[in-house]
């Protein structure tokens, strides 16, 4: 996973398959970086995600909580069409983070 930081925006480019197993290292890497960088915006870019189960939803909700505690806000961008159903089922859109 590539993470970039520019103009107070930290972007994590998620890749491949997100499940319960793969979510754990993604979570700790993003949380570690955002704690040290303290970005105003944490952006999760889903363009490289090929598969995701509800662990991906947990990942979004957890990052929403974490970045809110740090005083920043979350943006979720470039969700592939194939993930539309699980995203809409989850109600995560009501957080207003999906761009």
């Amino acid at each position: 996973m590539e993470i970039t930081y520019e103009n107070d925006v930290m972007t994590a480019y998620l890749k491949g398959e997100i499940d319960h197993h793969s979510a754990a290292p993604i979570r700790s890497e993003i949380d570690g970086k955002s704690e040290s960088l303290r970005p105003k915006i944490l952006r999760l870019d889903f363009s490289g995600v090929k598969f995701m189960d509800s662990s991906g939803i947990g990942l979004i909700m957890g990052r929403y909580r974490q970045i809110s505690l740090l005083g920043g806000s979350l943006e979720v961008v470039n969700i592939p069409k194939s993930l539309d159903r699980i995203i809409s089922l989850s109600g995560v859109c009501s957080l207003g983070v999906v761009k």
Partner: protein, 156 residues
């Protein structure tokens, strides 16, 4: 309804096997010539069920996850995913969206909601102290019978 093919799979309840489990089931179902969406639905539902076995059934402890997949002559796929773990005391409650017992684990509590939404039928049977079986059914639309026009280039 006749069973035309089936397979059995068992593996240790390790989270690194989640990806293997859903891919193996998806590979087996390829013989029905499913659409990419149907395949993704099955992979997602299986991933949820297997994760439940590992996280809840065995609580990250040792154990074996058992999967049986049957294909019927009508193009229906029946997937049984079973653990011999702790069992579920209140199935109805466990199936409520957003209900989760794994509080610190960042589980969204959507596993059963996803399984329900991504398959045609789900049955959960569980005995406390003995384990849980989730049965998922999904009808794979056969392209030669399809009149919806959504499937291209598969006519016979």
């Amino acid at each position: 309804m006749n069973i035309v093919n089936q397979m059995d799979l068992s593996f240790p309840a390790k989270s690194s096997n989640e990806s293997f489990a859903r891919s193996a089931v998806a590979s087996f179902i390829l013989q029905l010539d499913p659409t990419i969406n149907e395949l993704a639905d099955i992979k997602t539902a299986v991933s949820e069920a297997v994760t439940n076995c590992i996280v809840h059934g065995y609580g990250y402890g040792d154990g074996t996850v058992y999967i049986n997949v049957k294909i019927t002559d009508k193009g229906k796929v029946i997937i049984k995913i079973r653990d011999k773990g702790c069992g579920i005391p209140d199935i109805e409650r466990a199936m409520e969206p957003l209900f989760t017992t794994a509080g610190d684990e960042e589980r969204a509590g959507l596993g059963f909601a996803v399984m329900q939404s991504f398959t045609d039928k789900i049955k959960v049977s569980s005995t406390v102290g003995k384990g849980t079986t989730v049965t998922l059914e999904k009808n794979i639309i056969r392209h030669r019978n399809s009149s919806g026009g959504a499937d291209l280039g598969h006519g016979e």
